[in-house]
Symmetry: C2
Subunit: 314 residues, 2 copies
């Protein structure tokens, strides 16, 4: 039986309830919502009933416990989350602008998860897992990058698999050693899940087909290109398969890509066909956008079945 691991930031998210540019005046907000891309990912994995764990750090404050309680309730092994007595749980304030883009105020680097080192207990947790998911957002600090690389090496070395969602903030690419770290991750990646243009981050090619061929030639087994509301395309050496997205009313897109990825990885590890994995992943991403809050729209398999049936895609 597979057990999926991820390592990275755990945050609370505070959402402005009206649109506008940033936080230079008091505005109505709602929160704290459990958040952090790796946390959203692993929560969606847990909700599908899949064994899974996250390695991270939170402060011993309400914001840390909001996350631990939610992850625990949704079936995630939280033994790898250190609760730091004098630490502060990370946070992200987000406000949508009129054009749909987002303004953020982050507290990650100086929060409890700003440093993630691996204790012996965490190394043992890594060794109990069979799949490592690397979330690009998590590559924000040298210690976290090092911990992720260690997990990739150990899990891959023991015959496990690796998935990689680049999900990169542009400024991360220019941090010292980052391109080397990304190349190392990519060289161990079995399943690569870029969004749109991220496909070209690690390829010389200028067309999608050429970039896919180039990456598959490097040893990646499968690629899923996420296209948001438009659906997604699966590629491996034999197959190219595109599926349209679902028709839903978008309330809050944050977390949709993470839920999509979590669902695809889970079905893929369970041996589902690419068509089935893509169908469920699309349904998961679609349900995610219908709820305010990054982790609030994570779905059970029954909820995905229900949406698939409702839209006649079964």
């Amino acid at each position: 039986m597979s057990k999926i691991l991820t390592i990275g930031e755990i945050l609370v998210e505070i959402i402005a309830t009206n649109r506008g540019n940033g936080f230079r005046e008091a505005v109505p907000l709602i929160g704290p919502f459990p958040s952090g891309a790796p946390a959203i990912f692993i929560d969606q994995v847990g909700k599908l009933g899949q064994d899974c764990a996250i390695i991270s750090r939170v402060g011993d404050d309400d914001f840390g416990w909001v996350n631990i309680d939610r992850l625990t309730a949704d079936g995630v092994d939280v033994s790898g989350i250190d609760v730091v007595p004098q630490g502060t749980t990370g946070s992200a304030f987000v406000r949508y602008r009129q054009d749909g883009s987002r303004a953020f105020v982050f507290n990650i680097r100086h929060s409890a998860c700003g440093v993630i080192d691996l204790s012996d207990k965490m190394l043992a947790l890594i060794d109990s897992c069979t799949h490592m998911h690397v979330m690009g957002t998590a590559l924000y600090a040298p210690s976290v990058v090092a911990s992720i690389l260690t997990a990739v090496e150990r899990i891959k070395g023991a015959g496990g698999t690796v998935s990689f969602d680049p999900n990169l903030r542009p400024e991360i690419l220019d941090s010292p050693g980052m391109r080397e770290a990304l190349q190392t991750v990519l060289s161990k990646t079995d399943l690569f899940m870029p969004s749109g243009e991220e496909l070209f981050l690690f390829a010389e090619a200028k067309t999608e087909a050429d970039a896919v061929a180039e990456l598959l030639a490097k040893g990646i087994k499968a690629i899923v290109v996420k296209r948001g509301a438009k659906g997604a395309t699966y590629f491996d050496s034999k197959t190219t398969l595109s599926l349209d997205g679902f028709e839903v009313e978008e309330v809050d897109p944050t977390g949709a890509g993470d839920c999509f990825g979590a669902t695809f990885v889970t079905f893929w590890l369970r041996g589902a066909s690419p068509a089935d994995a893509l169908l469920y992943a699309n349904a998961s991403g679609a349900r995610a956008v219908t709820r305010a809050g990054p982790m609030e729209g994570a779905s059970t398999k029954a909820e995905l079945d229900s949406l698939i049936k409702l839209q006649g895609k079964a």
Copy 2:
């Protein structure tokens, strides 16, 4: 002409708009409001048209600029606020419980103002000031305590004066070296402004009159005991004067004690009689509680005059 200095935390405050116990689930909020007890204090001083400055640190994010913009608009010299490029501005989430007590989630120690060291520019700023106000909340980190003690020594050494609002969180009292630091501050204090029971923090005596006598005998020139909505009492070697508070509808008491103190100190430095200083300070505390947000209820002199006249206390 006097110039008033304070040193300490600058925060944003995020307020839950419904009552309850803490932040273990998403609740409606409003913020960011400029905050931090020393910042509220100095903003109220600035609004009274008094020369003043604050030494602190914020991140280069919207939360830092919310504070700098407000303090600048209200007449505070902000040249002593360092904007830390990779720093995070401090924050406090506050939620009132049904019984009126408050639950907090703080980010101070790991925020930009978690360390405040004095550059040459800041030492010059200190030397341009004639009065130092020590806010007890600001004694949260060794570097901040050291900076405050330096400012007290230099301003006092140059013939200036010192006021001290203990405003202490109980856990601070037990930090290493804290009682010694507090005794040093107290030994330099001209004007001591405790709330209620804080009068007894530094006295052996068990009654208010005895504690006041004991503290005045140590060299403190004047004591103002703050009693919230009930008003305040002024003591010096010759005078004891109690004034009732104003009748106002309380919306949010946060910051009222800081506005009270700022107004008293400002009038006291301007040579007002104890009766006048107390009257304006009471009016300032009263206006502060009528507005949501810690710094939103800071008042101009005209606004204080208006309230005093309205309630027939002129």
